[in-house]
């Protein structure tokens, strides 16, 4: 039996301490469909990494793999120093307490007011007094331009306001990593700028690691330290903003120019 081991599992290579998240040769399938294959990415601690890619490329899936909401079918995930892909669910929950996640479609608790939504992680995960919680909720709402809207239900807000409420909920607990799934999609240009600035400010102030998915190239160029381009389940280009902009890869160039002629099938 022992000498008949099937194709050797991939050798896990834990990242150095300055890497907050490492995805190593991830493969993820939904049934027959392969969404990610041989996908590798390092997110440097204290930096903002932006993932760009076509709709349906698997960007949201990457975030879920990185915080353990999805288990890859192959490959290793190292987040905040632990190998998530080997941990039981209870220990993954502990790691996730240190990660904020702003969902693409907000995922606000619709039976709670906006303020209660934002307060929820503080109530569940900390021993703070009510006054302190209210204070923190207030400042989180202010930082996304939602002061005074705390008593409304999510259903009574516009899409963009819901987005910002989800955003406040993700940052209120001052996590070590914040993941934003398309933070500016569906916002007006002014709000897009405010959110972009907010991400930059939080990142500079708290030195958090940000992992941002976005289609909005100007805001990507404004906030990113590194950019990763996901195409057909793999990261095909990764590097600093200027490196990616100057990439000779025609797929990257076509994506950055938004052109319909090129190697990407449209």
């Amino acid at each position: 039996m022992i000498d008949e081991k099937p194709s050797r599992e991939l050798e896990p290579s834990p990242p150095p301490p300055d890497v907050a998240i490492r995805l190593q040769s991830i493969e993820l399938r939904y049934g027959e469909k392969i969404v990610l294959s041989d996908c590798s990415l390092d997110c440097i601690r204290g930096h903002t990494t932006c993932i760009i890619g076509l709709s349906g490329a698997g960007k949201s899936t990457i975030l879920r793999v990185a915080n353990g909401l999805r288990r890859p079918t192959r490959g290793c995930v190292f987040t905040l120093g632990s190998e998530l892909s080997r941990l039981p669910e209870t220990e993954i929950l502990e790691i996730r307490k240190r990660i904020g996640f702003a969902f693409q479609y907000n995922a606000l608790f619709d039976s709670m007011t906006v303020a209660d939504n934002v307060a929820f992680p503080l109530y569940e995960l900390t021993d703070l007094e009510d006054d302190e919680i209210n204070e923190r909720v207030k400042s989180a709402l202010e930082s996304v331009g939602l002061d005074g809207e705390g008593d409304r239900l999510p259903g009574e807000l516009s899409g963009g306001m819901q987005k910002r409420a989800g955003f406040a909920r993700a940052i209120v607990n001052e996590p070590e990593i914040i993941m934003f799934d398309e933070p500016t999609t569906g916002l007006d240009p002014i709000m897009t700028n405010i959110i972009t600035e907010t991400i930059k400010n939080i990142q500079h102030k708290l030195k958090v690691t940000c992992l941002v998915i976005s289609h909005d190239l100007p805001s990507v160029f404004a906030i990113a330290d590194e950019i990763a381009l996901l195409f057909e389940g793999t990261i095909i280009e990764y590097g600093s903003v200027s490196k990616v902009r100057q990439s000779p890869n025609p797929i990257v160039q076509q994506f950055l120019q938004g052109s319909d002629v090129g190697p990407i099938p449209v």
Binding site: N67, I95, R96, R98, Y105, A107, D110, F120
Partner: protein, 260 residues
């Protein structure tokens, strides 16, 4: 593939699914028990849920048991009197109501009303990613969503059953009086001599088990929702049907054990 072989395969996958389902329920129940033992839940949420689920169900519970009491007595009273057995009417109504029909009908009504409400609300939280949002914060969804609802059902169904028992037995008296002008003494004396307190108490034990079953199945099904509104509808129906079947099965098993 031959017909027999494909049938064997069908049976096999059916057994597989059954084992998987039962295992899933057991795992979830284990987690809820751990949360309860370690007091890892919010009492205020349990009370809120108990109030909500109780209010949702009590009118239907009362109506169902009232009419059950009425109809047993309707059948029993005229028969009994014509055979000169009127001293047994109260007893037979109370016996059937308190030991069997009270808990079982309450459980079934609860599955249809509160169980469906639990599955629908959890299911819609799943399809709108609210459950993932919980998990993404490092909060266990079973802890915040299932544990309080299961505790609430554990408390609420026996309480509703007390109502059901009282209303059913009173309904029986009313019908006996209406049909054969039975004296209160004959009816209530019969109730007293037939029923012992442990009948009532064991009936409530059954009810508590039904409450747990309904909430457990409802929670488990809710988490299995996928797709959109249609998926939520599907698991809701499934939760109610499964809950009711389990109540019948467990009612039989519990009667077997509790009333030897």
């Amino acid at each position: 593939m031959s017909v027999a072989a494909s049938r064997r395969r069908g049976v096999f996958s059916g057994v597989n699914r059954f084992v998987e389902y039962a295992g899933g329920l057991a795992t979830m129940f284990g987690e809820v028990c751990r949360n309860v033992v370690t007091l890892n839940f919010r009492p205020s949420e349990v009370i809120r849920q108990a109030y909500f689920l109780g209010v949702e169900s009590w009118t239907i519970v009362v109506l169902t048991s009232l009419f059950t009491g009425l109809v047993i007595s309707l059948e029993a009273a005229s028969q009994a009197v014509s055979y000169g057995l009127s001293q047994f009417v109260g007893g037979s109504v109370a016996f059937g109501e308190v030991r069997e029909l009270g808990p079982m009908l309450t459980g079934i009504v609860f599955a249809g009303r509160a169980g469906a409400a639990i599955t629908a609300s959890l299911g819609s939280m799943v399809v709108t990613e609210q459950v993932e949002a919980l998990q993404s914060m490092g909060v266990s969804a079973v802890k915040v969503l299932v544990t309080p609802r299961l505790l609430a059902s554990f408390i609420t169904v026996p309480m509703l059953t007390v109502f059901a028992d009282i209303v059913g037995v009173y309904g029986g008296y009313y019908m006996a009086w209406l049909r054969v002008h039975m004296s209160p003494y004959t009816y209530w004396h019969s109730v007293q001599t037939t029923l012992i307190f442990s009948d009532f108490y064991k009936g409530l034990e059954k009810a508590a088990v039904f409450g747990v079953l309904v909430a457990l199945v409802a929670g488990y099904e809710g988490f299995r929702a996928e797709g959109g509104a249609e998926g939520v509808g599907r698991v809701t129906t499934h939760a109610v049907v499964t809950g009711i079947i389990l109540i019948f099965v467990f009612n039989f098993a519990l009667s077997f054990v509790l009333f030897p």
